[in-house]
């Protein structure tokens, strides 16, 4: 009840006052910004990303269920990075699985990587 010192109605109001928050969850913002920064560095043309995004959106709609735009966005980015040889999807899958097992501590199930833990 005390967050009222933000000017949410006047001309100086931040854009979110003119609608909803742009990212529903933090990961959406990170997925968005990763594509933007990689494009900024010249690693791919935006049209190439857009092409993957169109395909990801079409696949998601064909599959039905709840539609998540930024899931499509992340999938498009992963596919583009995989096909351009920058980051192969298998390594992302592996890293995701490692992160999923993280609370259990050092229980990496296979050590076929040179995991140089620096923590």
């Amino acid at each position: 009840m005390t967050f009222v010192d933000l000017d949410v109605v006047g001309p100086a109001a931040p854009p979110r006052s003119n609608g909803e928050l742009v990212f529903a969850a933090p990961w959406e913002g990170r997925a968005f910004a990763m594509a933007l920064t990689l494009h900024d560095r010249g690693l791919f043309e935006w049209s190439a990303f857009q092409g993957q995004l169109i395909r990801a959106v079409a696949r998601a709609e064909a599959a039905g269920g709840e539609f998540s735009y930024y899931r499509c966005w992340l999938e498009a980015l992963q596919t583009l990075l995989d096909t351009s040889g920058l980051v192969d999807s298998a390594s992302v899958d592996e890293r995701t699985a490692v992160l999923a097992g993280r609370p259990a501590g050092h229980d990496h199930r296979h050590g076929d990587h040179d995991d140089d833990h620096d923590h």
Partner: protein, 198 residues
């Protein structure tokens, strides 16, 4: 080999984190730069920019002429440029012609003037119905257009990013450019609403 859950079943937050950590290790992404992009689009770039463009066009006929002739240049005059703003086309709504913006395939949107797209713009139903039955869709947004108003649907699939110049509502003749700005909504600039007098 112990069974590893399919990555698609794992939370998307973790997939995002995994991708970011790999990109950081490869030196392709700087987390601080990501933070900056996120903050910019979450807080600074939004429909307030477009509202300033519209208010200026309503109060400065020469600017309006430039805006309709070359949207990209006229919008850049106010300092608004950037990704998804390289080819702006601004179209004027009139009592007889109404424009509606959509991107049927992937939700392209004019970021520098409107910020990132809202949920309804990305929704599959909006994207499909804007083309198929725009009049019924607009009615659901609360905008009942008379049958003699022509509706033109602008599909942003190429590099062009569209913005609507809404009609200035009656009863706002005495308002200044600054006073007009807060009346102009994102919805009016995409064509799913009209601007209302205060």
């Amino acid at each position: 080999m112990s069974p590893v859950p399919a990555p698609s079943d794992l939370p998307v937050e973790l997939r995002t984190e995994a991708l970011e950590s790999i990109l950081v290790e490869k030196g392709l992404v700087d987390p601080a730069v990501l933070d900056k992009f996120i903050k910019t689009y979450a807080e600074d770039v939004g429909p307030l920019n477009g509202a300033k463009v519209v208010a200026k066009a309503w109060t400065d006929p020469e600017y309006k002429a430039r805006l309709l002739a070359d949207g990209t240049a006229a919008i850049a005059e106010l300092g608004f440029k950037g990704p998804q703003g390289e080819h702006f086309v601004v179209l004027e709504n009139t009592p007889t012609r109404h424009h509606l913006v959509v991107c049927t395939l992937c939700s392209c949107y004019p970021w520098p003037v409107l910020g990132l797209p809202p949920g309804w713009y990305k929704d599959p139903a909006y994207r499909a119905r804007a083309v198929r039955e725009p009049r019924a869709l607009l009615a659901e947004f609360g905008l009942e257009l008379s049958p003699d108003v022509e509706i033109r649907v602008l599909d942003s699939v190429s590099e062009v990013r569209y913005m609507v110049l809404p009609e200035r509502p009656a009863g706002t003749e005495s308002l200044s450019e600054e006073e007009l700005v807060p009346l102009i909504t994102r919805e009016a600039m995409t064509g799913v609403a009209k601007v209302k007098a205060p």
